[in-house]
């Protein structure tokens, strides 16, 4: 700041400067320790981060490999037991929508009621033929 300031600002600056000079010993000691710790942190050579990253990546790859290979293959006794048992019966075909429509129709109900008549009619036809 090269411009000419008002006198009271200069006085304020001097007062602030004087206040910062009169710090007590414990405060100065604490500031000194903080400064030295910060500078020491800078002096310490920075370790590269890539060895850490590489180690983590290898460990993760091993874990994935173990998890993917481990429990997949069945054990031998289980395989023998599976071969000894008969194959499961084929499941009964589920009732389709057309079956439900057929059973629900009125014509189908008549057919069921006159089933004896149609059986007799069929037998007569066979004898005539």
């Amino acid at each position: 700041m090269n411009e000419q300031r008002p006198a009271w600002l200069e006085q304020a600056r001097d007062l602030l400067e004087a206040g910062s000079e009169g710090l007590d010993a414990p405060t100065l000691s604490r500031l000194n320790r903080a400064r030295q710790a910060a500078v020491a942190r800078h002096r310490k050579p920075q370790r590269a981060a890539w060895p850490w990253a590489a180690g983590v990546a290898v460990a993760a790859a091993c874990a994935v490999a173990l998890l993917s290979l481990g429990p997949r293959a069945p054990s031998a006794p289980t395989a023998v037991l599976a071969q000894a048992q008969p194959p499961p019966a084929a499941p009964a075909p589920a009732a389709t929508e057309s079956d439900a429509e057929l059973l629900g129709a009125d014509d189908a109900a008549d057919l069921v009621q006159d089933l004896d008549f149609y059986a007799w009619l069929d037998a007569q036809g066979a004898q005539d033929g």
């Binding site: 007062l15 206040g19 710090l23 405060t27 500031l31 903080a34 500078v39 050579p45």
Partner: protein, 187 residues
């Protein structure tokens, strides 16, 4: 290897000298902002660590605004934490950021004006200034301290405060007006 070590030692020496040159003013700024010596010491220590970690490799000419940028950030964080805890209800966050045309320090009307501190004796003037500064909103106080006390120019103050140069001028204009009003009571 030896060159690296000597270079690091030289850089550490420069860092130490810089931090030594700003630590007292930084402590005073933090103390005015938080009102407690211990908290202020913690903030200055955090600012030193943060500065060394992020900006120590920058050109030394940029160190001062960057260090105060870190300190300003720590002070702002402290106030936010206090607000969250419900113990600090100052309205400094609501202050506007309007821009002004002129730098209030450069445009001061009369450099020979004795001003509001003229008739006060040393300790009384220091106490009055201290109280007036504490009563300022955070951003106004930071603008005043960085610009008037630390001597940063408007651009460097804007870098330190993470705002536009116009905002710095506005904060400073208001700070000067408030300080004049507060200190004229003592005349």
């Amino acid at each position: 290897m030896r060159i690296d070590e000597s270079g690091r030692a030289a850089a550490a020496g420069a860092l130490d000298a810089f931090l030594r040159s700003v630590e007292r003013r930084a402590l005073r700024m933090a103390e005015l902002a938080v009102g407690q010596r211990e908290e202020a010491l913690d903030l200055v220590q955090e600012a030193m660590f943060g500065f060394v970690r992020h900006y120590a490799d920058k050109p030394t000419a940029d160190w001062a605004p960057l260090f105060y940028r870190v300190l300003d950030s720590r002070i702002t964080d402290w106030h936010r934490r206090q607000q969250v805890r419900g113990r600090w209800l100052v309205a400094w966050l609501r202050r506007g950021d309007e821009d002004d045309e002129d730098d209030p320090v450069a445009a001061a009307p009369d450099p020979h004006d004795p001003g509001p501190l003229a008739r006060l004796a040393g300790t009384e003037a220091a106490g009055a200034l201290d109280g007036a500064l504490r009563d300022l909103p955070l951003r106004q106080r930071q603008a005043f301290l960085l610009r008037v006390w630390e001597g940063l120019d408007v651009a460097a103050t804007a870098t330190a405060m993470r705002c536009s140069e116009g905002s710095v001028k506005t904060h400073l204009f208001r700070a000067l007006a408030s300080l004049r009003r507060a200190l004229e009571v003592y005349q």
